[in-house]
Structures are given as structure tokens and as C-alpha cells.
């Protein structure tokens, strides 16, 4: 009986594939071919049509100038080292501060209400101001108070501004994570006799942080790009170095070069975040 049904469903003993599998395989091949053809068509169209635009020669000379790129790229690459340094100093500080703010935002005790209020105001204010303004105001304002070198360095205060701005965003990410942990987890922890602190430390935070890791990676990518904003208060990092070359050569190619460098640095991180998210989704739906 069962063999009969199998034959009826079209099992082909020679290839070991059902009729459905054969059909699906064909459909997949077909869609692959269609995708390849349409991609090729688009690429060819761009390749043919864009150079036909009357301004193409000008755009090519101003944006895709090989001579300018080769002359400027090495120094831009070394300017990017400064971006990386600032990033690796700022990122841990941001996470530490953000976690503290998020915990302050979550205190429930009435006596500690000032802490909670401070966290609310902190997050509201710093999230509402454009990052570039925070950098300007802190980067120029605080050193102007009369601090002596080296404590008036734009590197220090620029990093402080980035840390303040980003910790407000990331505190909200942590808070979302903390609030996403089901009340039953807290009840269980309490019933085991854990204190508020231990509950947070051993039960809530480990789950909460794991849950927001993909979002955090996304913010890290944004941070790496926003480090370039520090160039507005003096440091000659990649964006500024590209700007100097742009001005020197009256050519935008250095900006394209800077974009390439940022791409190479951020795309792996973006893919990593995608991977983490996919993994988490798979685990959740299991």
C-alpha cells in the first residue's frame, strides 16, 4: 500500500527524488537564471547609460579620478587609524556608562527616585540633541572654560561628547532588553530568595544583554562612522584628511576613497550583526 502511494507520488527510484523535489529544483534553477540575467541587464544598462549622461566626463574627473585616488589613499588610510583608536577608546566607555544609566533608569525603590529621574533626563536630553551639536558644544565649550593643556585636548572632550551621546542611545537599548525579560523570571528568582541586586546580576542582565547584542553591533557600526564627526573640532581623521585633499585638488575623489575605507571596515560588522540576528531568530522559533 505504502509503496503504491510512493509510486503514485512520482518517486523516481533511479534518482531518489520526488516529483516535487524535481520541480522545486527546476524552479530554483530557473529563478537563479532569471536573477543572473536581470542583474547582468541592470549592470550593463548602468555601464552603458551612465557614461552617456552629458556630465559624465565631469563627474568621472571629479569623483572617480584614479590619479587623485592613488596620490591620496595611503595618507587617508593612516588617518583612519585615528578613527579606529578613538572608536576603541570610546566603545567600552559607552557600554559601561550606558549600562549604569539603564540600571538607574530601572530602579524601583522610592528612595532612589532621584537616580531614576536623572537617568530619564539624561537619556531624553542627549538623545534629542544631534550628535554633532553635542560634539561642538562640549568640544569647544568645556576647553574654553580655561582648562590647561593637556586637559583641554579636543581628543579628550570629543571622545567625552561621543560617549555621552551614544551612552544615552545604548542605555535605551539595554533598558529594552531588561524590560523584555518576562516577569516570571523575576518571580522565580525572588522565590529562590535572590535579592534585587543578585536577581539583576545573575538572572535578568545575562539574558537581557544576550537579547540585544545584534542591536548593539548595529550601534557600534554607527559609532565607527560617527567618530568622523570629531573632525569638526580639530582632529585630522579620515573625513578631514579627505576634506583637505578635496580642497587641495578641488576634487571629490578623496571622499569616494574615504567611503571605500569606511565600507571595508563596517560591512563585516554589519554582516556579523545580521548573522547574530538570524541565529537568535532561529533559536527563538525552535
Amino acid at each position: 500500500m505504502s509503496t503504491d502511494t510512493n509510486t503514485a507520488r512520482g518517486k523516481s527510484p533511479a534518482r531518489g527524488l520526488t516529483r516535487r523535489q524535481v520541480y522545486e529544483r527546476k524552479a530554483k534553477q530557473k529563478s537563479l537564471i532569471i536573477a543572473a540575467v536581470s542583474l547582468a541587464a541592470v549592470v550593463i544598462l548602468i555601464y552603458i547609460i551612465v557614461p552617456l549622461a552629458p556630465g559624465w566626463e565631469g563627474v568621472k574627473r571629479s569623483f572617480f579620478n584614479w590619479a587623485v585616488l592613488t596620490k591620496t589613499f595611503p595618507k587617508m588610510l593612516s588617518a583612519f587609524v585615528l578613527d579606529l583608536q578613538l572608536f576603541f577608546i570610546a566603545a567600552p566607555l559607552i557600554f559601561a556608562l550606558a549600562l549604569i544609566i539603564a540600571l538607574m533608569r530601572n530602579v524601583t525603590s522610592a528612595a532612589l527616585y532621584p537616580l531614576r529621574l536623572f537617568a530619564i533626563v539624561y537619556i531624553d536630553v542627549l538623545r534629542s540633541i544631534p550628535v554633532i551639536l553635542t560634539i561642538y558644544l562640549i568640544g569647544f565649550g568645556i576647553p574654553g572654560l580655561g582648562l590647561l593643556p593637556p586637559y583641554n585636548s579636543p581628543y579628550i572632550w570629543g571622545t567625552v561628547a561621543l560617549v555621552l551621546a551614544y551612552s544615552a542611545y545604548i542605555a535605551e537599548v539595554f533598558r529594552t532588553g531588561i524590560e523584555s525579560i518576562h516577569e516570571s523570571q523575576r518571580s522565580a528568582a525572588r522565590s529562590l530568595g535572590l535579592s534585587e541586586t543578585s536577581m539583576m546580576r545573575y538572572v535578568v542582565l545575562p539574558q537581557a544583554i544576550r537579547r540585544v547584542v545584534p542591536t548593539l553591533v548595529n550601534f557600534l557600526v554607527a559609532l565607527l562612522k560617527d567618530v568622523a564627526l570629531l573632525s569638526f573640532i580639530g582632529p585630522v581623521e579620515l573625513l578631514r584628511q579627505a576634506g583637505v585633499y578635496k580642497s587641495l585638488f578641488a576634487n571629490f575623489t578623496p571622499y569616494v576613497g574615504a567611503a571605500l575605507i569606511f565600507l571595508c571596515a563596517t560591512i563585516p560588522a554589519i554582516r556579523f550583526a545580521d548573522y547574530l540576528m538570524a541565529k537568535q531568530n532561529a533559536e527563538r522559533s525552535r
Binding site: 571629479s62 576647553p143 582648562l147 569638526f232 576634506g243 583637505v244 578635496k246 587641495l248 585638488f249 576634487n251
Partner: protein
Amino acid sequence: MKRTLTTLAAILLASAATANECSTGNTLTADTLTIATGNPAYYPWVIDDAPESGNGFEAAVAYAIAGKMGYDNAHVAWVRTSFDGAIQPGAKNFDFNLQQFSILPERAEVIDFSAPYYTTTKAVVVTTANGKDMTPATLSGMKGLKFGAGAGLSAATFLESAVQPMASTLLYDDVANTTAALQANQVDAVIFDLPTALFVTGVQMDNGKIIGQFPTDVNDSPDHFGLVLAKNSPLTACVDAALSALQADGTMATIEDKWLASGAGVPVIDMSK
């Protein structure tokens, strides 16, 4: 017949008053010369950010050139562009653009420059408060300073080749930010072109001081400022002709005396010590 003559005379008069042969048909708007400057335009180049008044060195130069080209003040229109707006490919929204663009061979590959309308040196400004007020200024003294400069100027590359300071130079978007960094002691000294330095130390800062200007034989110094026009613009030749006429009849010297403070008293930096 009489009427025809009058009409003819009127036409001749009108064309004489509005445009000369050189630029006719080549301007952005017929019978009007469209001139671009920065946003904002700074002292002493344009006074009160109002180029329409003709006050300030560049505003006055612009009107003088327009006049020589046959455009009276009523036939001049002003627009604002950034540096990037002046160099971007594609159609320009100005006939010529003046905002202290230094004439550089690399830049001349994508835009046209007129002949220079002004030549200046780079000057070093310090505050008397920060103890970097060295006299006389020498090259070895300069090497120990932490410099700030405008990113749009050629100052960064100039410093690297001519001075090679030990600390890395900080760069800023405009004169105001550069001055702010100097006043906050974030840099020891800043570099401006001499007229800007004279203005900043004379008007904007209480304790600003020019310690010296770089000698004219150092590479990239002096700076020649030129008008920027679209690459291969038919107007470049007209503007050059107008400029050389203005230089020959002494108008340029008069404008310079009127709007720019004299830098004659500023000491020259000793590049041998």
C-alpha cells in the same frame, strides 16, 4: 528716419551700459553678471556679510571687474556657494566666484582660475596669554608649536612641507572655529592669510598677536587668490582682461588700500634659524 536713429542710438547706449562684446551671450543670465561668494562671507573680504553693498575687498573687486566688463551695479546678482559648490562638476550657478581661492595647479585641472587679484603671505597668530609669543619668530621655534588652521586653506600641506611641526596640526572648518581653538589653548598658534590675521588680531581677539609672516620664497607661499570660473569658461578671458585693465589704471591698488590693513609692519619669519 529720425525715429529709427533715436531707436538705434538707444539700443547702442543700452548695450554699452549693460554688457560688452566679450561676455555677451556667455553669462548665466542675459545682461546680468552672477557673482558668488562664501556663506557667510568674512571680514575683511566682505563687510557685514553683505556683498551687495560693495563694502569689503572682494565685494569691491567684484563690482570693479563687473564695471570693466560693462555691467553696472544694477546688473550684478550675488549668489552664495560653499567651496564644494564651486568645484562640483556640472553647471555652475555663478559666472565667477571669489572667496579667497588660492590658485593651485591641481585645482586648475577641474576649474578655471582668473589671473590673481590679490597676493598674500601666510601669517602665524598666537595669543599673548599662552606664552608662545616668541620674538623674533624662527623656523626652529615654529617646529615646537601645535598648529591649528582652516581645512579649506592650503595651510595643512604648507605646514607639512615648510615647517614640519612636531605635534600634529588640528584643522577646522572656518575662521571662527580656528580662532575659538586658539582662545581655548587647544592649539598654540594658528595660520591665516595675512589680511585675515590682521583682522582677527585687530578686531576679533583681545590678546591676539601676529608673530610673523612666512617669507615669499617658501614653497606655496605667497598665496595667489584667483576668481573661480567653470572649466573652459568663455568668460575667463574677459575677466582676465578686466583685471589687468584695473591693475593698469591703479583701481586695484586703490581698493586694496581702502579695504585691507597694511601688513608692512609684520615681521618675516626667519627660516634659517
